[in-house]
Symmetry: C2
């Protein structure tokens, strides 16, 4: 894609044309040069959206809750961009999270945009592009961005890094799901949502969460527990009010500014790490590395020594390109 | 710790003294200089252990299976080192995986050593030290190293990277656990173990796994499905025979050599990435970065540009130290 074509696409994006948004998101996701160019151009338009993260175990009703949240935000005249991050296996052939959200409602509403994104897989955590996709949705002008992911490990922590307010969903009847909340996951929750609050065991879940909160550490904001029945919209208004309360707390306490600062630094670090990781992988494949790898095979040297050499060669490479 | 003291510790390690093993493992885990020195010295003694990875969802009976596997290996006169990787929250106050394995049996057996290790948390995946801990257990002379972790995301993929043979545990009665096997997780299994095979629903689990295997891709080795009842040792002999079969396949097909090669490269890359990540974090905190971070705050530049600068500065730093 030529620079001129990219510029035209950016112009159409700025005019609010939905296909231009979709196209640029794809470029950004695939780290195409046009995507980088668009990011460089559009980043200055970001900083207005409020990002709500939704995470929780499979079966907690995240898609249903997301729909209920969208509906209530629309009722409040807010536009909503949704990024549904999907770690489910291609093997299972299931619908993506984004599909599931769309299936529940028939969105012809111009105020709602839903995007699915698969996690990249092997090298851990969310795709580097998640941050960039969020920026584009922000620059496009959505008031609220909902980032949703199934809680299976690192992803939920990564989502919290992106969000202003993070909702952690729990639900009765998933066996030992609460007992196995991973280190750091409860800590990332700003609001605990006990969904399917009308079924048996819901109060046990609330009590367990309360006990865990008591044992854990928290700052001036004690994460409230909100009971919802997302499937019929019960208490979703209260949930959005609680999000607003958290937003007000972030602003009045200065914590919002501190979070944005940490988030920006983390994004920079991740991008740099990702880029360097790519460089490292190229360096280790260089023929010049082969004698050292052969020594490693013979156990004449150890992995730490080889790693130091690969890092050194990578730095030479980065410099000669700088 | 002085170099001489480290050398003495290494000597005691080589004499098979258990406290020296424990001490060096702690140094390696905490990335202390003495640990690096020991690794440099002891890496040449590695390459003899066979590494069996065990992963699966919470409640699948991994600790019980690990115990049964240890017992059967001991019956076959093999020594066993166990590395139990524990992602569970400190909040829950539960026993570590290693504790749970030990609680089940009273190990006074010199042929068994069990080590628990917490995952480091925030920045994703297993601690960098896991590889080094495995090397030390290998150098100490254990015939078999069992690496066990609860399957909650990236960790299980990382464990498979370390293992020669990876067992993926499934179990009836955990709801949609099979439906939510993450992309890449079924692919990493060399042997599928359906534990608690005596309870209702076990055959459904076997059938689901078979269907998933049919849909997925695999090489010349089709992962066999082994039914076990670990709690009373049922079919553990067959499981170990299946591990031996996989081992023979790895050797005869050349896949074992290819795996070891990939594993060594991945370890080098991870170590280099980890080290560079630490450098990046120091660089972004340098006062010289502040003007650029301020521009980022003002959205005059975007995160990609800042990341490029941080990477460039890091490379200068690495070079000046090389």
């Amino acid at each position: 894609m030529t620079a001129t074509a990219t510029d035209k696409l950016i112009e159409r994006f700025r005019n609010g044309e939905r296909p231009a948004l979709a196209r640029l998101l794809t470029y950004v996701e695939n780290e195409r040069p046009a995507g980088l160019r668009a990011m460089a151009e559009l980043y200055r338009d970001t900083g207005n959206a409020y990002v709500v993260g939704i995470t929780g175990p499979p079966g907690a009703g995240k898609s249903t809750l997301t729909n209920a949240v969208i509906r209530e935000y629309r009722r409040r005249d807010k536009t909503v961009g949704v990024l549904a991050i999907d770690p489910s296996s291609s093997l299972t052939g299931g619908a993506t999270l984004g599909d599931r959200i769309r299936m529940l409602e028939n969105y012809e509403d111009e105020g709602v945009y839903i995007r699915s994104m698969a996690t990249r897989g092997e090298m851990g955590g969310l795709s580097m592009a998640v941050g960039a996709v969020t920026h584009l949705l922000d620059a496009y002008g959505f008031d609220i961005i909902v980032v949703e992911t199934v809680g299976v490990g690192q992803d939920e922590v990564d989502v919290a890094e992106l969000a202003d307010t993070t909702l952690l969903l729990q639900v009765p009847g998933l066996g030992d799901s609460i007992q196995t909340i991973k280190a750091g996951v409860l800590e990332i929750a700003d609001i605990l949502v006990v969904n399917k609050a009308d079924i048996k065991g819901a109060e046990n879940v609330v009590r367990d969460l309360r006990n865990m909160l008591r044992l854990g550490e928290h700052g001036p904001w004690l994460p409230p527990i909100v009971r919802t029945v997302a499937v019929n919209g019960d208490n979703i208004e209260a949930l959005l009010d609680t999000i607003d309360k958290h937003r007000a707390h972030l602003e009045s306490s200065g914590e919002g500014q501190a979070r944005r600062e940490r988030r920006a630094r983390r994004e920079v670090l991740r991008l740099a790490q990702n880029w360097l990781a790519g460089q490292l992988e190229e360096v280790i494949r260089e023929p010049a590395m082969e004698p050292m790898l052969e020594k490693l095979r013979q156990r004449d040297i150890n992995p730490f020594e080889v790693a130091a050499e690969v890092a050194r060669r990578t730095s030479v490479r980065v410099q000669s390109r700088g």
